[in-house]
């Protein structure tokens, strides 16, 4: 027994009891924080949604009219007179699309950053969005009667589903190329990841441009493709909202099965494997979910860059680094970010409003540069 006691690891503590008490209090606070952030984000989102119904290019509504419009949409009251109800409904559709797209892109970014263990990864940076855009526009062109896939013409009635499916395929191809090329000896190299992303983005952009010039003859089609490739929230249909919702639900359903695992990835993939994580399966699941989320977002609203990088980053600062809180928060934070940006630019710029894709690039580009500057120290070791 004495040997056992002698062998016992001695503990040298410098803590005074009050220090320990403070520490555990702050730990408790940290544990509660994600929930509080979620409540705040949810309230913020509700406010933003109501505001975006009120403000728009077709004029501002009275508060009472906004409420009446909302009640009418829920079937609880009489509709507003004339075109007003239609305006409200169009704005609601646009806002819902923004919610879905924001959630999808933020979730996709959160998942990709977890898998690649780097906060610079996001669907637009590593080329997943571009791959999805290429898939989607190929589908659009084919259904418009161009290109080699003439059988697709017969399914034009299911256009949104086909476009989303092709976007998912395109995104998957981009994801697998990027993942395969950036992995060497079981490790992911961040510089290679970003370089492969550049290459995939360039190739996809070239092919997109080619598709657009093919479609130039057809005014309607080229207009649709161009408007969509800038990232747009206009003229979307209810069918697309449903599609977006389904895609988002499926992608979000993977959260419970990858969140803890991605946390364990943080200390290295081998370490996670030794703890019993099926690393291959988790990566596959997370990458598929990220690609699906990015693909539905892209097929509905085009390429909106940087939501997937900015939103998870800010959420990590607010609600902590654990993917168990980060990924669910993405579902609220992404919408707040996109709906907020969309509302702000409509409110500040009035009628002359920019595409959300443009706004996001204007916010996100500098933010990406800021991340690079801030991570200078870490980058030196890449």
């Amino acid at each position: 027994m004495t040997a056992k006691r002698a062998a016992r690891v001695q503990h040298v503590s410098t803590d005074s009891p009050s220090d320990v008490a403070n520490l555990s209090k702050s730990a408790l606070k940290r544990g509660r924080r994600p929930r509080r952030v979620a409540v705040i984000l949810f309230l913020l989102l509700c406010v933003l949604l109501v505001l975006s119904l009120r403000v728009g290019s077709s004029g501002n509504f009275q508060w009472s009219d906004v409420w009446r419009g909302i009640l009418a949409m829920c079937g609880l009251g009489d509709p507003l007179p004339g075109a007003q109800q239609t305006f409200i409904e169009l704005r609601a559709l646009r806002a819902l699309i923004a919610v879905g797209v924001g959630a999808c892109l933020a979730l996709s970014g959160g998942l990709l950053q977890g898998v690649f263990r780097n906060s610079l990864a996001s669907p637009s940076i590593i080329g997943v969005s571009a791959g999805a855009a290429l898939g989607a526009s190929t589908a659009m062109m084919s259904m418009g009667g161009y290109g080699p896939f003439s059988p697709l013409r017969n399914v034009a009635a299911y256009a949104p589903v086909v476009v989303t499916g092709c976007a998912f395929l395109g995104g998957l191809i981009a994801t697998s190329v990027v993942t395969r090329l950036a992995t060497a000896g079981g490790r992911i190299s961040v510089p290679t990841l970003l370089l492969v992303g550049i290459a995939v983005n360039a190739v996809a952009a070239g092919l997109l441009a080619a598709i657009q010039s093919f479609a130039l003859r057809d005014y309607e089609l080229s207009r649709a493709i161009v408007a969509w490739s800038f990232g747009t929230l206009e003229d979307r249909s209810a069918q697309q909202v449903v599609l977006l919702g389904i895609g988002l639900l499926v992608a979000a359903a993977t959260i419970p099965f990858v969140a803890l695992e991605l946390d364990l990835f943080a200390a290295g993939e081998d370490d996670a494997k030794a703890l019993g994580v099926h690393t291959g399966r988790v990566k596959l699941l997370a990458l598929c979910a990220a690609t699906l989320a990015a693909a539905v977002a892209v097929s509905v609203a085009g390429q909106i860059a940087f939501v997937g990088i900015v939103a998870p980053h800010l959420l990590r600062l607010l609600g902590g680094r654990s993917h168990r809180s980060l990924l669910p928060l993405c579902l609220l934070g992404g919408p707040v970010f996109l709906v907020g940006a969309d509302f702000l630019q409509r409110w500040l710029l009035g009628d002359a409003f920019l595409q959300p894709g443009v706004v996001m690039s204007l916010i996100g580009g500098p933010f990406f540069l800021y991340l690079l500057v801030r991570n200078k120290g870490a980058m030196a070791t890449w």
Partner: protein
């Protein structure tokens, strides 16, 4: 029947011609090693830098699949076991982590229970008990609420062992546990690992510290270039005829008394005037 970890004629090469640290390497990191470990045994694997010690440990842990030969845990190949099943039977204490996660110590130790969690990943009372026991065993209860980044080197090492203890496995595979620790902490870690072996676990420790290995291990295994040079009790391995070809002639040997009889020690020793030769 007591379980056993058996390594039979294992070969492994990194086969990564573009690899930065092993340019154009085609030589095997591990070239035909055999090893057997039963529960309650304390085995130390020693050898010079780059001899394949850590690769051997990864092979034993089933993290790498051998090119040839096999690693068997009770007759089943270690690397093709379901990850969770494997983690419940073998716990790895890494030399260091790729990056220090910004987690609370308790959260980090809890991650050792991953292999026991159900579909919803919610820890049950058994998991909480195992974590509490591991933290108590490692004397970490006072720093449970601290962040991993605030720990000293010695504390961090204990946290890594505690996480492995929370896995409640039959085998502990420990990679260089005493790097960057001072003398006192080195001794504590080894004595602790020895006690864990006495309690019925099979323990493999990869280490550079020949003297601590000599003092605590039941068996030593000396490897070089992926091949076994010597294996046996401390006095069979730590002798001039075995070590001189590997570590050079500037060694001084001696013996220290322990409760388990006299154990050899060896220290690097440059005799005055030797530099001139």
């Amino acid at each position: 029947m007591a379980s056993a970890l058996k390594v039979k004629g294992v070969h492994y090469s990194y086969g990564d011609p573009g690899g930065v640290d092993r340019p154009g390497s085609v030589t095997d990191a591990v070239a035909g090693l055999d090893l057997e470990l039963t529960q309650g045994e304390f085995l130390c694997v020693i050898g010079p830098n780059g001899s394949g010690k850590s690769t051997l440990l990864s092979l034993c842990a089933g993290l790498l699949a051998p090119d040839r030969g096999e690693v068997l845990l009770d007759g089943g190949a270690a690397h093709s076991m379901a990850p969770k099943e494997r983690a419940r039977r073998m716990a790895v204490v890494p030399q260091s982590l790729a990056s220090i996660p910004s987690l609370l110590v308790e959260t980090f130790v809890s991650s050792g229970r991953y292999a026991y969690l159900g579909v919803w990943r919610r820890p049950g009372p058994l998991d909480k008990e195992a974590v509490a026991m591991a933290m108590d065993e490692a004397d970490l209860l006072d720093v449970a609420e601290r962040s991993m980044e605030q720990l000293s080197g010695g504390q961090r090492q204990r946290v890594l062992v505690a996480r492995a203890l929370a896995q409640q496995s039959e085998y502990l595979l420990v990679d260089e546990p005493t790097n960057s620790l001072d003398l006192e902490h080195k001794l504590h870690v080894f004595a602790w690992l020895k006690r864990l072996a006495c309690e019925g676990r099979g323990v493999i420790v990869v280490t550079h510290d020949l003297n601590l290995a000599s003092q605590f291990a039941d068996r030593l295994m000396l490897i070089r270039d992926g091949r076994m040079v010597a294996s046996g009790g401390p006095s069979e391995v730590l002798k001039r005829s075995v070590l001189e070809p590997i570590y050079g002639p500037n060694l001084h040997f001696g013996e220290l008394p322990t409760t388990a009889g006299a154990r050899p020690y060896v220290v690097p020793w440059l005799q005055l005037g030797d530099e001139a030769r």
